[in-house]
């Protein structure tokens, strides 16, 4: 909903608007109750995670061979009857085949255990852990973030003072950022594909610290300026700005200031702007014809009565009582968004782990195969996490290769 729509809604339905405001439904994701729900969700994942880690550790460390009874309970299990000689030959063959297939083989007096993709046992804890890390990052953002928009004209300096911002938004802790530096917009470049489509918006910024340029950067959309924990994004595009000086008659010091004309998607037709001249009671109305206008139409009034009108060129001035209003230049202004968000690195760490875990789900399947020799029988059991049915073919293939002579000697389930 746009600001104007919200304002209309507020006028038409003041009661409903009060309910919406008091419950935070107009900013759900930064309300305390949303954070509480997210907190419960995170706690749930955390509890689940601790349980999953225990299971994974147990499975990862699991050694030894299950008994014939447990093998019989597995979805994939077979039993064969073999004489002593055949059994000895099969034993060696089994070891070679599972090793060839990339299994990690461990031999025991009672049989053999082969495992593959053991790291896949960590997939679920890693997946849940990464979501927890992302949610932690989101929580940090919600509590500590700061964002603010400001407009800056070519040649103008921004130092992060309160009155330089057009709007600000905070996390729940309302933490103010520290600006130990100044920014200066050296130049703003705008290029277009055609009358309708922009190609480039670029602010050439200089960062000053203790009066010295410590960093210069071309800030574009997708190319923010990052300095001392703050990021500056190209957010608004550009407008025109008139740079004035106010000079006391008789040679007093000159104070300067910018008057921004409103932003338009396409600059056709006349731009106008009104402003109050500081230290006086005068109002001033300006008229400019962009994009090539070099002259300003100016009308100064005092309490509604026009006292001066004129057309000023660069460097021209107009007499307004105690002062001269000097028109220096027409420059471009642009809008930037400054943000500090300690949650981002945490969220990104979660992203990396999440990607890793989802690919582990697909490509690393923990599999185990056991061969247990008992007198005249051989018990073969196998299990695979997540895709037991898909593992069936591989299991059958291992058996077919390892024990072709046993095909007709099945001994039933143990």
């Amino acid at each position: 909903m746009s600001g104007a729509e919200l304002f209309r809604f507020r006028s038409n339905h003041p009661g409903i608007y009060r309910v919406i405001r008091s419950s935070g439904l107009d900013h759900v994701y930064t309300t305390w109750w949303f954070l509480v729900i997210a907190g419960f969700f995170s706690a749930n994942i955390a509890l689940n995670l601790s349980g999953r880690i225990k299971i994974s550790v147990k499975q990862f460390k699991e050694e030894g061979i299950p008994g014939p009874e447990r093998i019989g309970r597995l979805n994939l299990s077979r039993t064969f009857v073999l004489d002593r000689e055949a059994r000895e030959s099969v034993k060696g063959k089994i070891r070679d085949i599972v090793s060839e297939d990339g299994y990690r083989v461990k031999e025991y007096p009672e049989g053999l255990s082969a495992s593959k993709g053991r790291w896949g046992l960590w997939t679920v804890p890693l997946f849940h852990g990464s979501i927890l890390i992302i949610l932690t990052g989101v929580l940090i953002s919600s509590l500590t973030k700061f964002g603010g928009t400001f407009e800056i004209s070519e040649g103008q300096v921004f130092s992060g003072k309160k009155d330089e911002f057009i709007s600000k938004d905070y996390g729940l802790l309302n933490l103010e950022p520290r600006f130990d530096f100044h920014l200066r917009l050296r130049k703003f470049n705008a290029e277009y594909w055609d009358a309708e489509h922009p190609r480039l918006y670029q602010s050439v910024m200089d960062v000053y610290k203790k009066g010295v340029v410590v960093l210069s950067k071309k800030v574009e959309i997708n190319e923010p300026l990052r300095y001392e924990g703050l990021s500056f994004y190209q957010s608004k595009y550009h407008g025109y700005s008139a740079y004035f000086g106010l000079m006391e008659k008789g040679g007093g010091p000159e104070t300067g200031g910018y008057v921004n004309f409103p932003y338009k998607k396409r600059y056709t037709g006349r731009l106008t702007q009104k402003f109050h001249i500081p230290q006086t009671s005068y109002e001033c109305e300006l008229g400019l014809d962009p994009p090539d206008g070099n002259e300003l139409d100016i009308k100064v009034s005092d309490k509604g009565k026009v006292i001066r009108t004129g057309r000023l060129k660069r460097g021209g001035k107009i007499d307004i009582g105690r002062y001269y209003l000097v028109f220096h230049d027409i420059v471009k202004w642009t809008g930037l968004y400054v943000k500090r968000d300690y949650g981002v690195p945490v969220v990104y760490t979660g992203f990396v782990l999440l990607v890793l875990s989802v690919f582990m789900v697909v490509f690393i399947v923990p599999k185990r195969v056991w061969f247990v020799y008992d007198k005249d029988r051989i018990f073969i059991g196998a299990m695979a996490m997540r895709t037991s049915a898909a593992f069936k073919e591989e299991f059958e293939d291992i058996i077919a290769r390892a024990c072709p002579e046993m095909n007709n000697k099945e001994g039933g389930t143990p």
Partner: protein
């Protein structure tokens, strides 16, 4: 422009014919017709790919800005992905009865959208955006194959006794595994798509998540596929339940990705609904 449209139409026609052959082959149980369908799909990739390249050169950017470009490239990637996968797993040939008509519909949907070339705006010049789009296409293709397997599963499950055509359709067990595998692969691609989009948004506008309608709906789709995987792995939801759930989530994902931008104001509408 004319050559591009002609080639697009040739591609769409071949896919359409392929769909007809696939359905006819399936209904009349003629394996040869299914093979012709796949051949038509493969031939269709050439003029369709030509149309995409011509447009790429003409507008100066990849096929991912407006709905026409998105649909066209999604259809091409899905067809290519499907043909490659079915070369490896031949039984997936039968999934053409579901996959090819959906691809044909994507082409038709693209034709209904404006094909006007829009130059690349500054916010869209990002490597993260390319990753975002590439993985969007891969996840669509992967989910589409899972959808095809689910359709086959339900068909086969309803005709357990029928054996004449049974040889052509893989066993229920095998289909079930492929439904899981392609949904899991699609889930991995979807995850990367969302993450790449999130990093791109953070670089462009200074926020990694804004609960934009398409973002929110992508999250809903992600959670739905996550639910599918959880139910499968923890509650042993396999077989018919898994197939039906796959159909439902696939339809939800199509609505979320391709229809939501038309109905709700979103940062994606800026490009897609033009």
């Amino acid at each position: 422009m004319t050559e591009e449209i002609i080639l697009y139409w040739i591609g769409a026609t071949l896919y359409g014919l392929g769909s007809v052959f696939a359905l006819t082959g399936f209904v009349f149980k003629k394996d040869k017709l299914l093979s012709i369908a796949l051949l038509l799909g493969a031939i269709g990739l050439v003029p369709h790919g030509g149309a995409i390249v011509i447009r790429w050169v003409r507008v100066g950017h990849g096929p991912y800005i407006n709905m026409y470009e998105v649909m066209s490239s999604d259809a091409w990637v899905a067809m290519f992905f499907y043909l490659v996968i079915q070369r490896r797993f031949r039984f997936l040939k039968n999934a053409s009865i579901a996959v090819m008509p959906v691809i044909f519909l994507l082409m038709g949907f693209g034709l209904m959208s404006s094909s006007r070339g829009i130059p690349l705006s500054p916010s869209l010049r990002s490597y993260w955006l390319i990753l975002h789009i590439l993985f969007a296409k891969l996840c669509t293709a992967s989910f589409l194959i899972a959808f095809g397997c689910a359709v086959l599963y339900i068909y086969r499950d309803a005709r357990r006794a029928e054996t004449v055509f049974g040889k052509q359709i893989p066993s229920l067990e095998k289909l079930d595994v492929f439904i899981y595998k392609f949904n899991a692969l699609g889930f991995a691609f979807l995850t990367i798509m969302i993450i790449a989009g999130s990093i791109w948004a953070n670089n462009a506008w200074g926020r990694y998540w804004a609960f934009d309608p398409v973002e929110t709906w992508s999250l809903i789709v992600w959670l739905s596929y996550g639910l599918f995987l959880h139910l499968r792995l923890n509650r042993n939801w396999a077989g018919k339940r898994s197939a039906v759930l796959t159909l439902a989530i696939f339809i939800l994902s199509i609505l979320a990705f391709f229809f939501i931008p038309y109905f709700l104001k979103t940062v994606h509408s800026e490009y897609l609904v033009r």
